[in-house]
Amino acid sequence: MSTNQLFYTLQIADNALILGHRISEWCGHGPILEQDIAITNTSLDHLGQARSLYQHAADLFNALSSAEKTNCFASAALQAKISKGENLTEDDLAYLRDGWDFRNVLLVEQPNKDWAYTIARSFFYDAYNFCFYTELQKSKDSALAAIAEKSLKEVTYHLRWSSEWVIRLGDGTDESHARIQEAINSYWAFTGELFEMSVVDKAAGEVDVNALKPVWLQRVTTVLDEATITVPKDAWMHSGGKDGRHTEHLGYILAEMQFMQRAYPNMEW
């Protein structure tokens, strides 16, 4: 067992957790009760996926040799556990790593801002996730394949939901059109990273994300066309998330999310 499979799993898990966390910020603040409930269902799906993936990642980690274990994470709190020979859990991985140990793409940590930005972010990611999980079902890691198969059903619905909202906003009022166009333009620069093969991607020999781009682009273009939204020109793309170099937003997410585990370490909740 190599550390790469662990990092590969974490890369997927971190995307699910951070996006689920972001979307959960809407709960109680949605534009109408029905959609408040709908978007929260999506968040619960992402969190559920994150939990399955972290549990698998914890198993992978716990099976490593002690030499391998010490080189996995920078966080002092995790190092303390590791040096005591403790097994790690899903919560240790979610709550005790610092930003540079998180491998999520920059897109998912971007702020909600308004309904248009939230929809644009979800739409880009859902379209990617749909392609990604479809391929991951063939993973040679049977646990990942099983998670992918289960998640794909959820993601299929997510993509339907976010696509419909892109169309509704794009082809709705002048205001909604302007807002969703702005959001699409703004978050476009974070879509390139989805298809970059990170060091971990390359070593894993699992999904060739680079090959997903044409399918993704076709899907996105079809929806944006129907929404009367102009597809942004290819321009400079941000990246770094997969290698642990994040935007400033992630730090605040973690500060909030990890507060309890940091202030009251080593307790059961």
Partner: protein, 121 residues
């Protein structure tokens, strides 16, 4: 008196255009229409009225129904119908509508006195 009789029509199943709740004084033109949701809990059973919700169109109404009324595996199939399209019988006429059925007990199998030896009937 007119006003009083009119109260018969309060309700979600009104045959008025504004069924679903306009009280007249409030502008509801920006409100998403009201829909009635019917759910089949498992194959083989009828769709049953589950409740109502607001949605901008039929497709959204089905999705909202999925998110609102089937979070605990309550359904395998959903029907939605915009509330204003439901026509209902008038409760004021319930005596003439339903009471004539009460003395037709010969429609029920228990009305007939048959020997105990008779099987499978």
């Amino acid at each position: 008196m007119n006003q009083l009789i009119n109260k018969n029509l309060y309700g979600d199943y009104g045959d008025k255009e504004n069924a679903g709740g306009a009280s007249g004084s409030h502008d509801t033109s920006s409100e998403w229409p009201l829909w009635e949701v019917f759910i089949r809990s498992k194959a083989g059973l009828d769709h049953k009225h589950a409740g109502s919700l607001h949605a901008a169109d039929a497709q959204m109404a089905i999705e909202n129904a999925r998110d609102v009324y089937t979070r605990r595996m309550e359904g395998v199939s959903i029907w939605v119908v915009e509330s204003k399209y439901i026509h209902a019988s008038d409760p004021g006429e319930s005596e003439s509508m339903y009471e004539p059925a009460t003395d037709k007990i010969y429609r029920h199998p228990t009305f007939y006195d048959l020997p105990d030896e008779l099987k499978h009937m």
